[in-house]
């Protein structure tokens, strides 16, 4: 008797509407090399390079033509880009913008400039600062030596300028996602003068450096793939890739998670990516099971 291999048929997901345009403004280049980074960003990873200002402007224009609701900048570390201020202004001219940062490069001058844009813009300008623990020991084992204090120094400067960034926590330390973990973060942030602390928790994706962090056991299991029967209409709506696309210096992608995944690239421009996608990547399983959205 011959064993019949089950055939995996991945679900297809339509782009319902382009609500969110992600821009990988500094590619995979970062001033940190966090051990959980799902796209293995670092000072030496130029797999995706810095975007040109003209590329950012073109993607914004294409998105506006689609009726985009909001923009997100990420990297790498967005504030490494020498033209980041021009990019921020280009986005805010058309809609709300959120910037994902580790906060380390935010000096007093930049914090004041960001606060000025926050107040002057008719649209929301929001910052998300990544921090992975409430103590140096907890955070630095993930994000690198002495990063806890450097990140919080950047947060302090934003707060001193009158801004209120969202602190983003990846739940590599699983207990941080629970009620007690949240309370610890609220206490920490209030002790740093944030009287309206804002938090976002994100599940880790078992790809990139996060997969290697756990030796050979950190990746997805063969069963961790989505099937058509997994998705009803509500589940489809909840997946961020039903309403977002990502543009990097190398082209367009379904979402921020998959830019280093083979076969995920959709084309050269945003317009090339305005089509359905196949949810055939293990990371899609995390988005579905954990209800992950990279949006705030």
């Amino acid at each position: 008797m011959t064993a019949i291999e089950p055939v995996h048929t991945p679900p297809t997901l339509d782009l319902q509407h382009l609500d969110t345009l992600w821009l990988q403004v500094t590619g995979t280049l970062c001033n940190l090399a966090c051990l959980h980074c799902f796209i293995s960003c670092g000072p030496k990873n130029d797999s995706h390079e810095f975007m040109e200002l003209s590329q950012v402007q073109e993607a914004i224009n294409d998105a506006v033509a689609q009726g985009v609701k909001e923009f997100y900048f990420t990297g790498g570390e967005p504030f490494m880009h020498p033209e980041i201020r021009e990019m921020i202004d280009a986005a805010l001219a058309h809609g709300p913008l959120t910037i994902l940062t580790n906060g380390i490069l935010i000096d007093d001058d930049l914090a004041r400039w960001l606060a000025d844009r926050f107040h002057q813009s008719r649209y929301s300008l929001d910052l998300r600062v990544s921090l992975d623990g409430t103590t140096p020991a907890e955070n630095d084992v993930i994000r690198g030596r002495n990063t806890f204090e450097k990140i919080l120094a950047g947060v302090d400067r934003l707060v001193a300028a009158g801004l209120n960034p969202v602190i983003t926590v990846t739940t590599c330390h699983a207990e941080l996602g629970g009620a007690e973990g949240r309370a610890r973060f609220f206490d920490l942030l209030q002790s740093r003068g944030m009287d309206k602390p804002r938090l976002k928790f994100l599940s880790p994706f078992k790809i990139g450096r996060e997969e290697r962090r756990h030796g050979g056991d950190g990746g997805y299991q063969p069963y961790e793939l989505l099937r058509e029967s997994d998705l009803d209409d509500d589940a489809r709506d909840a997946l961020q890739c039903s309403s977002c696309r990502m543009v990097t210096s190398k082209g367009s992608y379904p979402c921020p998670i998959l830019i280093e995944v083979e076969d995920a690239r959709m084309g050269d421009t945003l317009d090339d990516a305005l089509k359905p996608i196949e949810l055939n990547h293990p990371a899609c399983y995390t988005c579905f099971v954990e209800g992950v959205t990279c949006r705030t």
Partner: protein, 262 residues
Amino acid sequence: MPDLIALFGGVYNNYLSLKATLDDARRRGAHEIYCLGDMGGFGPHPDRVFPLLRDAKDLFVMQGNYDHSIGHRLDDCACGYTDPRDNHFAQVSYDYTLAHTADEHKDWLRDLPTHFRRQWRGRDVLLAHGSPRRVNEFLWESTCSDAFLAHLLDAHGADLLFVTHTGIPWHRRLPDGRQVINVGAIGRPANDGRTSVDYALVDLSGDEPSVTFCPVSYDHHRLANEMREEGLPEEFAETILTGWWTTCLEILPAKERHRGRY
């Protein structure tokens, strides 16, 4: 076709502000009044809003996500919160409202329409709860680009769109003259330090529709006392007495959060 039309949303069991709103709109001469949904939550004595809302000939009432949940006897309000603290307080008021709403009113909520379409002096008008595409979508002023609002109007064939659900009113006139109005909520202050609430009054007598937000005062001390007597959270009473939100804070975008006290 009447010249003056009043629109409000987010009653949140606040029968005192509802009465004051209806009185004010009728006194100003509004010939049609629209309620964009969410009768329950937050306030005391859910059943007291229904005699004011049902069977009034000048009043058109729409179903919000809260009304859908109460009408179908669901387990939660499906408001769309993402933070545990927000969800905790939402559940407290939902459980209270579900337990204190009479069956006949639940059935009435269950059967309400989810949208209204109108033609006002040649303009296509759409009334929805959260957004035309999703009942619990939050349309905040600072996070809706002009391009997105134009898309909603295009996709749903409207020149004029009215929504609620966020609890904070705003008004956008797009470069092409089309308009989007979030009418805010009358059941809870708009997180601006005023204890009064707002509804929208549309004047159709000019070349294009003119929208005004009308502040309404009511006996908010009495409401807060009744909330306490009913055992509702002190945080809710504080909002009624101060005009500052104490809950549902995590859904606020940065700009809207910045304006509030908490």
